[in-house]
């Protein structure tokens, strides 16, 4: 529990009283029974590390922050999900779709790159070129934060 609580976004787990309002308000829990934020919080509290960190469960979260608003304890469940994903990623477990976004960020300075059709449309309809991106600055930052190493670790575990 303290491993999670000591990360910048994980503190909320300490406030959890297991009331389940997060799960009741969660739009994913309504359609996917696998995803149960209350249960995830319980597993963290019980210290079931291997069942939480490195697993798929925290990746079901939409980060819609409904649970943040509903939690009577200010327990920031949606924030704790970020903490869990950050810890999971350090073990090299990154879903393929997210890994592709991370690589695009490193290579292009942005997650979504221009499509040929949009470029043609922009030119033709007077919107001008897309705003420029400073890729070199992005890479400097990401090397300093060792984000590049996270990507490589994720690729090796695919």
């Amino acid at each position: 529990m303290h491993e999670v609580a000591n990360t910048p976004r994980g503190r909320g787990v300490l406030a959890c009283i297991q009331c389940g309002r997060c799960t009741n308000s969660c739009p994913v829990s309504r359609v996917e029974k696998e995803h149960n934020p209350r249960k995830l919080m319980e597993m963290i509290i019980l210290g079931l590390r291997s069942e939480v960190i490195g697993e798929q469960l925290p990746w079901y979260c939409l980060s819609c922050f409904t649970c943040l608003d509903r939690c009577p304890q200010g327990g920031d469940v949606g924030e704790v999900m970020f903490a869990l994903r950050n810890l999971t990623v350090r073990e090299g477990k990154i879903p393929e779709g997210i890994l592709a976004q991370a690589q695009s960020l490193f290579d292009n300075g942005r997650v979504v790159t221009a499509s040929r059709m949009a470029s043609i449309q922009r030119e033709k309809y007077g919107l001008g070129k897309e705003p420029t991106v400073d890729v070199e600055a992005v890479q400097k930052i990401l090397v300093k934060t060792q984000f590049d190493k996270l990507i490589n670790k994720g690729k090796r575990s695919l």
Binding site: P27, L62, F65, P95, V111, S115, V133, V138, L142, K144
Partner: protein
């Protein structure tokens, strides 16, 4: 009213019609949008999921660029808004974190000073331009058009980041009603469209979208209006996918608020912009009347 314009990456690349409508309505309301050059990804949900410090440093770099311009930063996208607003708040409140991020930014010749405010375009319309002026700009009101407003999560959640409770939702409702349309209440209006799970778990994303569309349909509306580019894709293209995979058809046109206002101001959408909507919107656009 002058702002540093942070277009993000999704809108310029995938939804240029949205950007075009914003640029058409802005000058008529006295808004000047100054393009930002040499920015980077806002670091949305997916990047925040990977690493906390990388997120803050990337988002802060964009904020520094706006500080250099001496302007407040305005975004069109809910995800850019959330990432920049949250970073701005964290760094302004927490000196230790700010110092750590500034150490990283020093390598690219920047320093976060906390001198810009983050706004989303609908905030600019509601707070800076004002509802009355928006109303005055309407020449062809959508009188009686029944609209389901989809604010998108990060316009108003988490509440503590958005000062007044649900301001984001009520502001957008009032803006929609300024065009003469009626914002119809529906169940679970604040619920997510499912978009953030695209590319991670497409099936769950589509089920969440369906949940939303079911609730909107039962409210008996003619269209959906949103400000979020992710909600637009999920609810517009999502209807095609739901029809294919779940055999359920809604036929609900989805418009950005900028498009609705532009038409209400008396400016027609161009053919290429109409074609950017997978569910045809032409039926809706004819529902205006002369003022």
């Amino acid at each position: 009213m002058k702002y540093a314009f942070f277009a993000g990456c999704l809108i310029p690349a995938r939804e240029p019609q949205y950007e075009n409508s914003v640029k058409k309505i802005a000058p008529r309301l006295g808004i000047e949008l100054v393009e930002m050059e040499g920015t980077n990804c806002c670091a949305p949900f997916s990047i925040q999921s990977l690493d906390y410090t990388s997120w803050l440093a990337l988002a802060a770099r964009n904020l520094c660029k706006a500080e250099e311009m001496g302007l407040n930063i305005v975004t069109l996208c809910n995800d850019c808004y959330e990432s920049l607003l949250m970073t701005n708040t964290i760094l302004k409140e927490n000196k230790e974190t700010k110092d750590r991020v500034n150490q990283i930014l020093a390598d690219v010749g920047l320093e976060f000073k906390g001198k810009t405010d983050v706004k989303i375009f609908s905030d600019v319309l509601y707070e800076d331009v004002g509802l009355e002026k928006v109303k005055d700009s309407v020449k062809r009101p959508f009188t009686g058009l029944r609209v389901a407003v989809q604010p998108g999560c990060h316009l108003s959640k988490p509440k503590r980041l958005h000062f007044e409770q649900w301001r984001g939702i009520t502001a957008l409702d009032e803006l929609v009603e300024a065009t003469g349309a009626k914002s119809v209440p529906y169940e679970r209006k604040e619920a997510c469209c499912g978009g953030p799970l695209r590319g991670v778990n497409d099936e769950v994303a589509l089920h969440v979208a369906k949940q939303k569309l079911d609730s909107i349909k039962s409210a008996g509306v003619s269209c959906i209006v949103t400000v979020c580019p992710f909600c637009f894709i999920e609810l517009d293209m999502g209807q095609i996918e739901i029809k294919r995979h779940m055999n359920e058809e809604y036929g609900l046109p989805v418009l950005s608020f900028a498009e609705l206002l532009r038409v209400a101001m008396g400016m027609d959408l161009e053919d290429w912009e109409l074609k950017a909507h997978r569910i045809p919107i032409t039926g809706i656009l004819g529902m205006t009347e002369a003022k």
